[in-house]
């Protein structure tokens, strides 16, 4: 087996705030083969967005800093690259889609100009050629009248159209890796499904690897091969998507899956995970999930749990599995 497209190893991103050091990402590791897809799930503040931003070195610095770890992408360690090389990679080999399509587009330029911008930046293309490429790309993301859309300003388009345009902008240079941070959260449910369909189709057509960051397990189930579940800056479970949904092993993953509302459930109360995510400045010792965990034992309160493999490509960090 050849080297994966992306291999993250023991990534630690700390935020140096006046009130103390926040270990936002604390020893995260995963890998992603070319053309594959990975989902990162977790509650707000679990470090999933920080992880994603680190992959392109877009973390707000200061206060954030990558304190250790390697991010091997296509033979280069992104954690150690210079700014000039990073700029070459950004938007070309690695692209990003943000949460809110309403504000990801600059209101004073037409959609076509903004998509063309990335082409002109990374490919030696003329203005006209770049615009033509942008129009092609808009057609590829399923916009009915791409030439007209290219001439439109963002405020003239609907939310779904804008997110399609944002996706076109991200994919216009054929990136090897696309990072999507909550790409459908700001959209209507019907549009969400269309956008997910579109991303799945484009992933197939363009052989782009995708990392999807979300708190929505439904979105994950639809689109990715492997899921990484994060809690309080750590990976608690990593598993192929079907295995994760069929037999979640970590108590936190089990809780997350139970909290997905279901129509045919007998009970009327929605299930939740008791308690709240611990304060980033005062992490509990031992397993970070133990204050909310029904299976917590003495050892969970004292020592960090071991990572236990399941023999089928997955692993979970929990004393109950040891």
């Amino acid at each position: 087996m050849s080297a994966p497209l992306l291999a993250v190893d023991d990534l630690r991103v700390h935020l140096f705030t006046p009130r103390g050091v926040v270990r936002a990402v604390d020893g995260v590791g995963f890998s992603l083969p070319a053309g594959a897809s990975l989902g990162i799930v977790g509650e707000s503040g679990c470090g999933k967005t920080m992880t994603a931003l680190s992959l392109m070195r877009l973390i707000p610095s200061p206060p954030a800093r990558i304190v250790s770890g390697r991010i091997m992408f296509d033979g280069e360690d992104i954690a150690a690259l210079g700014e000039a090389r990073l700029r070459e990679l950004r938007g070309d080999a690695i692209a990003m889609i943000y949460q809110d399509p309403m504000t990801t587009l600059n209101p004073v330029f037409t959609v076509g100009e903004q998509i063309a911008e990335a082409v002109r930046l990374h490919r030696d293309a003329s203005r006209a050629a770049a615009l033509a490429r942008a129009t092609e790309m808009l057609e590829l993301v399923g916009i009915a009248d791409p030439a007209r859309c290219a001439r439109s300003y963002p405020h003239q388009l609907s939310g779904g159209m804008r997110q399609r345009a944002v996706i076109a902008m991200a994919l216009v240079c054929h990136p090897k890796l696309l990072i999507a941070d909550e790409p459908t959260t700001a959209l209507d449910v019907t549009i969400q499904a269309q956008i997910l369909d579109l991303m799945r189709r484009l992933q197939g057509e363009m052989a782009t690897a995708i990392i999807l960051i979300t708190h929505d397990l439904g979105v994950i189930a639809d689109l990715v091969d492997t899921v990484v579940v994060m809690y309080a800056g750590k990976v608690v479970e990593r598993a192929p998507v079907r295995r994760l949904f069929a037999t979640p092993r970590h108590p936190y993953t089990q809780g997350l899956l139970r909290s997905v509302p279901s129509l045919d459930a007998r009970e009327h109360r929605m299930r939740t995970i008791e308690g709240a995510v611990p304060s980033a400045l005062a992490m509990p010792p031992g397993c970070r999930f133990h204050p909310r965990c029904a299976l917590a034992r003495d050892i969970c309160r004292r020592e960090e749990p071991p990572v236990v493999g399941d023999g089928a490509g997955g692993e979970a960090a929990c004393w109950a599995l040891a």
Partner: protein, 289 residues
């Protein structure tokens, strides 16, 4: 922000500006006055009925007449011709100084607002330092240091206005900096300076254009003040400020040169303020100054 975009974008924008100006009396008057001032400044040398430097001691200190529309000054020079030619000095300095201040101030403000941290602290403290002097005092100090003259007046006024542009650009940039399209642009591989020029500047242009037109009025006042103090346009070349200064000698016996020069300053300042107000209504409804 999107409101501004709607106002600036699409084919409708030229029509919208025209209909707004036509529907607003003050805006119309302001635009017409500014246009007249610009024409007078450009064509002044060909329009003057008399040589503004020509002295006539027999006809000195006269009131307005058919020969001398605005009267004559103590050297017997035609006040109308001098006021007319003074437009040139006032507008040349009044426009070029704020533009110069805008070029440097906007970039300084964008750098401070975009990078934050030490860049911001350094640039902001420098701007605060300049702001801590009243503009006129600062202008006088700089003019005194550089020696009086046309260029000095421009530099002095530009330095006095620089921190105002820097502050305005900085705060506007801080708002735009948080917009996701800036992050998206970084993520697509743009460098910071390209982002500032392409994504920040067009989004903060509205309030800055408004400020520019209002500060042109300020600059015209400052130019008159500096010339009045003998630090701007040098006699015998006419400017509104030095005409008032010369007229001060005999304000009771022959008030006409000072009165008409003063009126010219008032009209010019009023005209640019009216245009500025109209631009503010048009471009930046939220800004309250």
């Amino acid at each position: 922000m999107s409101d501004l975009a709607e106002r600036l974008s699409g084919d409708a924008r030229r029509g919208a500006v025209a209909s707004y100006v036509a529907g607003n009396t003050l805006a119309t008057i302001g635009v017409v006055l500014v246009a007249v001032l610009v024409v007078l400044a450009l064509a002044g040398p060909w329009l003057v009925p008399h040589d503004p430097l020509e002295q006539n001691f027999l006809g000195a200190s006269q009131g307005p007449s058919a020969e001398y529309w605005f009267g004559s000054d103590s050297f017997g020079r035609d006040v109308f011709s001098r006021v007319l030619l003074g437009t040139q000095a006032s507008l040349a300095i009044g426009v070029s100084a704020p533009v110069l201040a805008a070029v440097f101030g906007i970039w300084a403000g964008m750098l401070a607002g975009y990078f934050g941290g030490w860049t911001d602290r350094l640039l902001s403290r420098f701007a605060d330092l300049l702001m801590s002097f009243p503009s006129l005092l600062l202008g006088v100090m700089i003019a005194a240091a550089l020696g009086p003259g046309f260029r000095t007046a421009i530099v002095a006024i530009a330095i006095a206005l620089f921190p105002r542009f820097a502050r305005l650009a900085r705060s506007a940039t801080q708002v735009v900096r948080r917009e996701p399209f800036i992050d998206a642009s970084i993520a697509s591989g743009r460098g910071p300076f390209a982002i500032m020029a392409r994504h920040v500047l067009p989004n903060i242009a509205g309030p800055l254009i408004v400020a520019l037109s209002l500060w042109i009025a300020t600059a015209i006042r400052l130019e008159a003040a500096l010339s009045f103090l003998g630090l701007g346009t040098q006699p015998p070349a006419p400017s509104w400020g030095n005409m008032i200064r010369e007229g001060m000698g005999d304000l009771v016996g022959d008030p006409w040169p000072a009165a008409f020069a003063g009126a010219a300053i008032t009209v010019a300042v009023l005209a640019f303020n009216m245009v500025g107000d109209a631009l503010r209504d048009l471009l930046d409804p939220e800004l309250e100054t």
